[in-house]
Symmetry: C2
């Protein structure tokens, strides 16, 4: 048993990051109202959340700004319109995807920006490009994390090699990302060991971003924090791509640091999330996501199944098994 005493106590180093706008934006093309975003910001401040991710710094060359909401691009001016000078303990994060972000132009110096943390998202085969972005962000004064996506189908040796490269970069946090929602807690423990060993060697921190395909996003997150992972991603009502993420309301209920408070999260969900669902925005655990998770596949087929309002789970299962 790992650290049962911690169920009564807490570790100061644990940080909670709210990824609602970023991962949640993937299910409504980032069309959040300003009221939604302002209320979310206020709720995060009251709840004691450490970082709030506003969305992506997506390239306006690659993506049509008329087809997405503002959180897809996260202009500094937009963030400022919500947070003003952000005179709070809540730090602001954005995600920058390798190959889909004009980071040299679109990410300004931290001293001129409301943003505190750049989260560089990469697959294992683009680590050198990620390092370039990390170096750029660090040189501009930001805290930097690196999210290595889709690790559930990567080889352990490749993962270790990637962490060795990233360890020598100025990145602050290595993120475990279970993109397919296919890992079980025992596997998270094993992956966390690999990350923590590299983090210890290079004086980095480790984070986790989980998906709920097998209803394990929360369980995997608390497994990881028990193993020594410090940075924890959650989203309000688990809003996120496909089956969604680790629920902020579950996570804050679990953590014992008295600075965290679940009540503002509940209030926000009551006011905003039910309305989103009534408006037809769809996310969360369902059989099609379980099946792609079980098969360790990207959920894109399950997302399409959901969009098509299909309910023929058995036929879907036949289809995705046959893909391999």
């Amino acid at each position: 048993m790992k650290e049962i005493s911690k169920l009564m106590d807490y570790r100061e180093d644990v940080k909670v990051l709210d990824a609602t706008l970023r991962d949640g934006g993937l299910v409504n093309d980032f069309f959040f109202t300003d009221e939604f975003v302002k209320d979310l910001y206020r709720a995060n401040v009251k709840a004691g959340v450490d970082y709030m991710e506003f969305g992506y710094k997506a390239s306006k060359e690659l993506f049509d700004v008329t087809k997405f909401g503002k959180c897809k691009f996260c202009d500094d001016e937009y963030i400022r319109s919500i947070v003003g000078d952000n005179d709070t303990d809540l730090k602001i994060a954005v995600m920058a995807d390798v190959g889909r972000c004009d980071y040299k132009n679109d990410i300004h110096n931290r001293s001129d920006s409301p943003i505190d943390l750049i989260r560089v998202a990469t697959y294992l085969n683009t680590i050198p490009a990620a390092v370039n972005m990390i170096e750029d962000a660090a040189a501009k004064g930001y805290e930097v994390s690196c999210n290595i996506m889709a690790i559930s189908n990567s080889q352990e040796g490749d993962l270790k090699a990637a962490l060795d490269i990233l360890g020598k970069s100025p990145v602050d946090v290595f993120y475990i990302v279970d993109s397919f929602g296919s890992l079980y807690p025992e596997q998270i423990a094993r992956v966390a060991d690999i990350y923590l060993e590299a983090a210890s060697k290079y004086s980095k921190k480790v984070g986790i971003h989980a998906h709920n395909n097998q209803q394990l996003a929360f369980a995997n997150t608390i497994e990881a924090v028990g193993d020594g992972v410090d940075w924890l991603d959650g989203t309000y009502a688990q809003m996120g791509r496909g089956a969604g993420n680790c629920a902020m309301e579950l996570l804050l209920g679990f953590l014992r640091n008295p600075k965290y408070n679940v009540y503002p999260v509940i209030k926000f969900i009551e006011k905003h999330i039910n309305k989103l669902r009534e408006d037809g925005v769809v996310w969360g655990y369902d059989i099609q996501y379980l099946l792609t998770g079980l098969l360790n596949q990207h959920p894109r087929t399950a997302i399409q199944f959901t969009k098509d309002n299909r309910k023929d789970y058995a036929e879907f299962y036949n289809e995705i098994v046959a893909q391999d």
Copy 2:
């Protein structure tokens, strides 16, 4: 790390019990159609499930037979109308609640009944009455398990004393029951240790029945099986009281014994479960259940909140905090 190798292999002693009709019956007063029950029986046979719980052996003195479906009472004749001579590897179980079952009259000799397993359900304060029922069932030739409910608010010393009493009875399986859905995997590991120690002393087996208030029913079940717990309860689409149970489709996807097959479960869900939901039968994770789980309370207030179609989660939270 407990037994990662087992993620590739399996333990012969693991048994899966389908509790859909029994725990699921709590949300529709057991009004299942014969077609539903027959299809579920066939699906369980095909899926390799070990035991199928048909419902309760409820007292017809205490409960009006016109107000509940047949699975509330589980007459031998009714079960036979579904399973015939049950010439399969699937065994049949029923639950008998202490104080709510006329077991002397309503439970006949196993040789005259289609039932194989009597599951005696008790709270800690009625253990001697449970022992009487266990002895009766064992004398009539049944396999017998004992479900100790609501252990999350019991004292460890009381639990150990209860297991010592039960250990001396002819019961075959001690069941861990997280009635309030309030336990975290680390706590399940601790509870499993207590149960397994007593089970080892008295040559019994240990089982787990989880609830999904904090989306941990599946995670707690696979935590338990990793710790050495052999009997695992699941329900199709997690159908069960309040937030529901461990999903059979998740559980069979996880277990590696080739005798298990998730496909018939998916087929059944496609045919029957969506229809149940369309007909207005409601269960599953929601904020109100998270809150009672977090506070380690019985979900009855959350069930009422659900019935009343309330969505004012924050006010509900205030109400249930004030109850203490």
